[in-house]
């Protein structure tokens, strides 16, 4: 059994759904019997700011839910990459939505993956599900949670907006595939 202890920081503009992706990840881990915490940034009610969440997953009770140096960063916008990129732990993982982030990460000591999440999401359904592409990539790459369980959680999360389920599941799967491939290919 892999050591699943990890911390993921998911960041984007408010409304891009990274808090939801984080929640799905946390739920999936919880359903697998792991301990989790989900800690959002809650800034002053400034409009149009960035929103981010730190998800911690551990076999024992999560100690600090507040993580200065996460093991993984999923980012949907440039400000977040600039702010949090340098903080990722050496040897960590950075997943960048290249549909929206025009720049590259300069972290040579991390694994950096670029995914055109919006384009991919649009292709399989709707660009609005880019957050789930990102989640899929992470799940595929890290194997930290089971993909099937995660899909179930996605379905549950959208249970009162059933019509959005297919596009979101499809986006997750598209990301998952990218992630699994990336895992197989490198390192």
């Amino acid at each position: 059994m892999p050591n699943t202890d990890t911390e993921v920081l998911m960041a984007g503009f408010g409304g891009q759904g990274m808090l939801l992706s984080g929640k799905i990840l946390a739920y999936a881990a919880m359903y697998q019997g792991l301990e989790v915490s989900w800690l959002p940034s809650y800034g002053p009610e400034m409009r149009g700011g960035t929103a981010n969440v730190t998800v911690c997953i551990s076999e024992k009770q999560v100690a600090s839910p507040y993580i200065a140096q996460p093991r993984a960063l999923l980012t949907m916008n440039q400000p977040s990459l600039e702010k949090f990129g340098p903080r990722v732990r050496p040897g960590g993982l950075i997943i960048i939505n290249s549909s929206l982030v025009p720049i590259k990460s300069d972290r040579a000591d991390c694994r950096v993956i670029y995914v055109a999440a919006n384009d991919l999401a649009a292709k399989v359904g709707t660009g609005r599900a880019a957050n789930l592409v990102m989640l899929g990539v992470y799940v595929g790459l890290s194997g930290v949670v089971d993909a099937k369980v995660t899909e179930k959680i996605i379905e549950k999360e959208f249970s009162d907006k059933v019509k959005f389920i297919p596009a979101n599941v499809a986006a997750f799967r598209a990301g998952l595939e990218e992630g699994v491939n990336a895992r197989a290919t490198n390192r």
Binding site: L39, A63, P65
Partner: protein, 366 residues
């Protein structure tokens, strides 16, 4: 019941309901507004009453009224709002009414900011308001513990007929963690005992009052309250320790979420062979002075970590005396100390003791 992933604020609201509290009076304030929002949805579903008060002053007097007629009642707020409840809390304590108040702390002083802080420790534990009274103060370190302590808060409030405050920082209100709730309705309906104002049918009239014009009677009332606090002090001290089984050089004191950040640092240091233990008061009042003293007696030094400028530090000093070797590290203003910062401060403290690390990897880092 299965675990659910829930925001601290919502879990606090749900915990109250599970404790049998279906009356809420409160006023919005970040970072606790999800409590009233959650209860505004939920309470009508369970036949309860939700009232958005016009202010915290009003809210704190509404809970006085509701508790006085013998129902279980909750209010929640955050730092500046809690300050506005000072006078009413003194009345509630004086009248010996059971209420639960949750303070999801933000940074101060003044308007401060809305980010996490622990800087209402002294207001909660020492000087809530005028007059001689004390609240019981409980400090959870996880969403699950917040749920458990809210339920405990109602029990203690009713056992001692005294206000109980559950005090957490903004993080605990805003984060989601898995929680398990006890079965619905752990709380039996509140027993209106021989004090609640339910209408005097079939009995003499009752009075809920804190005015005692005769000084001797007022004195006696104070002595009675003081005796109760003494009873609480003896019976209700709660704390948690970590890594205290083996030997340790440094004892860290921390409450609430700060203790979890400290734990991460302690675990990391353990891998480096450093022996650090943690003492976490759960009841900030009554503060577990003797237990802390016992735990500290095994350490060469104590490091107090808080998200404030040194408030619990006063109790740590009180427990250990003016000559004890106590270091302090605190952040404020919404700055959450990172595990690395804590680690560094611990190392600094250890270096002052002259201890050397034991064999690396002696303890596993979870």
């Amino acid at each position: 019941m299965a675990k659910v992933l829930m925001k601290g604020n919502e879990a606090i609201g749900e915990a109250a309901i599970r404790a049998g509290c279906v009356h809420f009076f409160g006023y919005p304030i970040t970072p606790q507004s999800e409590v009233p929002e959650y209860l505004a949805k939920r309470l009508p579903e369970v036949g309860g009453k939700f009232v958005q008060a016009e202010s915290e002053v009003a809210a704190s007097n509404m809970i006085y009224g509701a508790a006085g007629v013998g129902v279980r009642v909750l209010t929640t707020s955050s730092s500046p709002g809690i300050s506005l409840m000072s006078e009413a809390l003194s009345y509630i304590a004086a009248c010996e009414l059971p209420v639960v108040v949750v303070n999801v702390m933000r940074s101060g002083p003044g308007l401060g900011g809305i980010l996490p802080a622990q800087s209402d420790y002294l207001h909660a534990t020492k000087g809530t308001a005028h007059g001689d009274f004390k609240m019981i103060v409980l400090a959870p370190a996880s969403v699950q513990e917040a749920v458990n302590l809210v339920i405990l808060a109602f029990e203690l409030a009713e056992k001692y007929l005294n206000p109980v405050m559950v005090i957490g920082d903004g993080m605990i209100g805003q984060m989601m963690e898995p929680v398990e709730f006890p079965v619905e309705g752990v709380g039996k309906p509140l027993d209106p005992g021989n004090w609640a104002l339910t209408g005097c049918k079939g009995r003499g009239k009752r009075i809920i009052n804190s005015l005692y014009l005769d000084p001797e009677i007022c004195y006696r009332h104070n002595l009675k309250l003081t005796a109760k606090y003494e009873e609480i002090r003896k019976a209700e001290q709660r704390f948690d320790t970590y890594n205290t089984d083996g030997p340790y050089d440094l004892l860290v004191t921390a409450f609430g979420m700060t203790s979890r950040i400290a734990r991460t640092a302690i675990d990391e240091l353990a891998q480096e062979g450093q022996r650090v233990a943690l003492f976490r008061p759960i009841t900030l009042n009554p503060f577990p002075y003797e237990a802390l003293r016992a735990a500290a007696s095994k350490a060469k030094r104590v490091l107090d970590l808080e998200m404030n400028m040194g408030q619990m530090l006063q109790d740590v000093r009180m427990a250990l005396g003016p000559d004890a070797a106590i270091d302090f590290f605190g952040t404020a203003g919404g700055v959450v100390p990172s595990p690395d910062q804590c680690r560094e401060k611990m190392l600094e403290s250890i270096s002052k003791t002259g201890s050397r690390p034991k064999a690396k990897g002696a303890r596993r880092n979870p």
